[in-house]
């Protein structure tokens, strides 16, 4: 009896040899040439088993069809093996597909049992998604794995959001927060094609509306409380004060308050940083000087956050910061009246922003390299 249940109840009984399957590294989804078709490009890993060099390359398979699953199954006729999805790292949607509604095409991926829902999802900044995936990088590493690496280290840059497909599917279904996805571009650096991920795409439910650039994205992330690192730049080369602040820690508090029956949002950020670069001889080593730099940084952060809010409110009318869900939590009653027309209400929401930047240290040197001292 017991031994019978082992066989009956076991879920994963698929026997497949690791060398007899085609491992998918990444997926690009475009519109097909014919109307009503989608074009799926998968990047598959070529395990070139050699004795010494176990080099790993990649190749691409493209097919058009009406539904995702139909294409996926038809791909067996091209690859010879069934595709293996569990190690795929990124899905790239073309802008066209995203503007048309992303939910249609990712439904299969979220639903199917052979796929994993912790795959990264991005929007192509180039004309097609295939183009990005096809930009053959110099290293043998599959391109999609490179994207995965970039996104893993994204939190020390904070130039784009990091979204996994289940996050995305989740925010589509959640009222009070609009979805965003990172943008991926195919860039050329010294003759080498590579991926570049920066900026974000703003979605209305599952339809893409437009993009935000990398700098705005950073402050949008501030408002979403998703900053884990990155740099705050004050001034620049030959522009005072020429200081880079490395963000160690950031905490953003979004607090909805009721003022005269109207809901307002108060945002407070607290950022812990360190001076990691000082090009000009600015006084950052006395507490007074530091306070000055701190207030400069605070001003900058507030200003930039306000700009980001303005874009979201005026241009897209999309609550990409999740203010709605905060209101939902704190004022459930009021939220009921706001919810049906939230996009419109959001665009008229009053948001006040406060920032606190704290300089904890000055990295490993105390003063900047003093050019004047040498003259004496």
């Amino acid at each position: 009896m017991c031994s019978l249940t082992i066989f009956v109840l076991s879920g994963c009984w698929n026997y497949r040899e690791v060398d007899k399957m085609t491992t998918v590294a990444g997926i690009a989804i475009d519109k097909g040439e014919k109307e009503g078709e989608i074009r799926l490009t998968v990047e598959v890993v070529d395990g070139l088993g050699g004795k010494d060099a176990m080099s790993i390359g990649s190749s691409r398979i493209s097919l058009s069809g009406h539904t995702m699953f139909e294409i996926v199954r038809r791909m067996i006729t091209e690859s010879g093996n069934r595709l293996y999805w569990a190690h795929a790292k990124s899905i790239i949607l073309s802008e066209e597909i995203a503007r048309d509604g992303a939910a249609k095409v990712i439904d299969w991926y979220v639903r199917d049992s052979e796929t994993r829902s912790d795959i990264h999802i991005l929007v192509s900044g180039e004309e097609t998604a295939e183009e990005v995936l096809s930009s053959k990088s110099n290293s043998d590493e599959p391109f999609s794995y490179k994207i995965d690496e970039i996104l893993k280290n994204e939190n020390s840059v904070s130039n784009s959001p990091v979204m996994e497909i289940f996050d995305f599917a989740d925010t589509i279904n959640t009222p009070g927060i609009s979805s965003i996805l990172p943008m991926v571009y195919s860039s050329e650096n010294k003759g080498k094609k590579t991926a570049s991920i920066h900026g974000l795409a703003v979605f209305d439910i599952d339809k893409m509306l437009g993009t935000m650039d990398a700098n705005k994205t950073k402050f949008a992330l501030f408002l979403r409380d998703e900053i884990k690192g990155g740099i705050l730049t004050l001034g620049g080369y030959n522009r005072l004060p020429g200081i880079s602040l490395e963000i160690f820690k950031n905490k953003t508090k979004v607090e909805p308050v009721l003022v005269d029956g109207q809901i307002e949002i108060r945002v407070k950020t607290h950022t812990v940083t360190a001076v990691d670069e000082a090009q000009e001889d600015v006084d950052y080593y006395t507490s007074k000087g530091r306070a000055e730099i701190e207030s400069m940084a605070e001003e900058m952060v507030v200003e930039e956050m306000e700009k980001a809010i303005e874009i979201a409110q005026k241009r897209y009318k999309q609550d990409i910061f999740g203010f709605g869900s905060r209101i939902h939590k704190k004022f459930p009653k009021e939220w009921k009246t706001l919810e049906p027309d939230w996009d419109e209400k959001f665009s008229r929401l009053k948001v006040s922003v406060q920032a606190k930047v704290e300089i904890k240290g000055t990295a490993s040197t105390k003063k900047s390299i003093n050019t004047e001292d040498e003259n004496y």
Partner: protein, 491 residues
């Protein structure tokens, strides 16, 4: 054969023994006649090679033949006079019981028969060649005593007694084997031992019906509680210090004449992982080594199963780079992973068995064939994949970490592997659960095999997973506290 009794005349007796041992030239008869005392004539019977000829000639024959009766004492028999004052051997016994006489003769004692007496004087002359006490081959240690048991029961008993100099140390002798009459000795410390276990052991030994007992390994199998398990519920060791430790903890040791392996009961699962050296080296190091042994055992039984599960069923559980490199390494390997794994495991077992049986002089050939031909060349020729060689290598090494568990490891490993090859990780987990259930159900002389495993009480783990330092052990409390625990469950 022993229906006949001794006759009063020498010639008849010699004829009797010649009838019992027809044509056996190792039975030696030495007739003698005292030069002056006419009535003192007889025969000395012994078996060549079993006796010390020095004792025979210097302390028995010479005193008898040089015996000068200063005054005629007629009222004491000649035999009595010999016993009282002439023969210079400490072990003497007068017997008319033919069975007893035969046993002693066969066990290396000499018989002294006198003309006119139908009794034999049994003289302790045992003296055969034995192996000297040397380092135990199967349980070497870097520090700690280097002595190991030998094939001689008496030597072995002396090795134990030298370690436990107490009148509480008791020996009980019995004879097992209808043909071999092998001496078996139970050894225990009187006030530590659990009487219940002792009685149970005595009962089981009594019940034994066996013709020949040649080694303690036979007893090990005959005494166990469960017959259908690869796990041993009777322990064996070649180290006197280990036996001394175990009997002090309340266990009973069973020594078999002719075997350098001493059995100890009850035997618990944790004892597989306790090595004498743990107790003699730094306690951090001892505990560390012990944990290494546990990890090693886990690896020994599960590495092939885990590998097969990962590669053929649950690829999503591997990190991507590992998947890719295994996938690359497996390109154009002819056998499916499961078959490859079975084949390589069996090849390894063949190598192991060959290495054990092979004479030392050609032992190197095995390692060359094993390492070069089956390892390197097979990978180069793409007959097997490189990861599989690594898997087999880890399995092989870790199996040898707990040599005593070898049999159990091999069977468990194949069991888990076959479950994994049908059901992947699910099967592996199922097998592991089954293994734990099986171990939990075992008993050794009524004591649960997994006693206190799973307990986190300080007193229960002090000598299982780790070894607590000696300064943490109270005087009078043996470190394992097995006595207390075993008593508790057998009460």
């Amino acid at each position: 054969m022993n229906k006949e009794n001794l006759y009063p005349t020498i010639n008849e007796n010699i004829a009797l023994f010649e009838r019992i041992f027809p044509g056996d030239s190792t039975i030696k008869f030495r007739k003698f006649q005292h030069p002056s005392v006419k009535s003192l004539s007889g025969c000395l019977i012994h078996i060549e090679g079993m006796v010390s000829t020095e004792t025979l000639s210097n302390y028995i024959l010479r005193p008898i033949l040089r015996f000068h009766p200063t005054e005629e004492v007629q009222d004491i028999s000649l035999m009595q006079q010999l016993m009282d004052g002439i023969i210079e051997v400490s072990e003497l016994k007068l017997s008319g019981n033919m069975e007893e006489i035969m046993n002693d003769l066969l066990y290396g004692n000499a018989l002294l028969l006198l003309e006119g007496s139908n009794q034999a004087l049994i003289v302790g002359t045992q003296g055969w060649q034995t192996r000297v006490v040397s380092e135990p081959g199967s349980e070497k240690s870097v520090i700690g005593p280097r002595e190991g048991f030998t094939e001689s029961l008496i030597t072995n008993l002396s090795l134990i007694r030298r370690r436990v100099k107490s009148s509480k140390l008791k020996f009980e002798f019995l004879e097992i084997g209808k043909t071999t009459h092998t001496t078996v000795c139970l050894c225990y410390v009187e006030d530590s031992v659990s009487q219940k276990i002792l009685q149970e052991l005595a009962k089981r030994l009594e019940r034994l019906e066996i013709d020949a007992l040649l080694d303690s390994g036979q007893l090990q199998e005959l005494l166990r509680d469960h017959t259908l398990t690869p796990f041993e519920t009777v322990g064996n060791t070649e180290r006197p210090d280990a036996v001394a430790g175990k009997i002090l903890e309340g266990r009973v040791a069973v020594l078999v004449d002719g075997s350098p392996f001493v059995l100890t009961v009850p035997y618990l699962f944790v004892e597989y992982f306790q090595v004498s050296e743990d107790y003699y080296s730094n306690y951090f190091f001892g505990s560390f080594n012990r944990i290494i042994r546990y990890i090693g055992e886990f690896l020994a039984i599960s590495v092939p199963a885990i590998y097969v599960s990962l590669v053929t069923y649950n690829q999503e559980m591997m990190p991507t780079p590992l998947l890719l490199s295994i996938s690359a390494a497996r390109q154009s390997v002819p056998l499916p992973t499961v078959a490859e794994c079975y084949v390589m495991l069996i090849v390894f077992e063949i190598l192991r068995e060959a290495g054990t049986r092979i004479p030392n002089s050609i032992g190197q050939a095995v390692s060359i064939v094993g390492a070069l031909v089956l390892g390197q060349a097979a990978v180069d020729a793409r007959v097997v994949s490189a990861p599989m060689v690594i898997v087999i290598g880890i399995t092989g090494i870790t199996t040898l970490l707990n040599v005593k568990m070898k049999a159990a490891s091999i069977f468990t490993r194949f069991g888990l592997l076959s479950l994994s090859s049908f059901m992947g990780f699910y099967g592996f987990m199922f097998g592991m659960i089954g293994l734990v259930v099986h171990l939990m159900s075992l008993r050794s002389f009524g004591v649960p095999y997994m006693l206190t495993v799973g307990s986190f009480k300080e007193s229960d783990i002090r000598d299982t997973v780790i070894r607590i330092p000696w300064w943490g052990v109270k005087v009078g409390a043996p470190i394992a506290q097995a006595k207390r625990r075993i008593r508790k469950v057998t009460r």
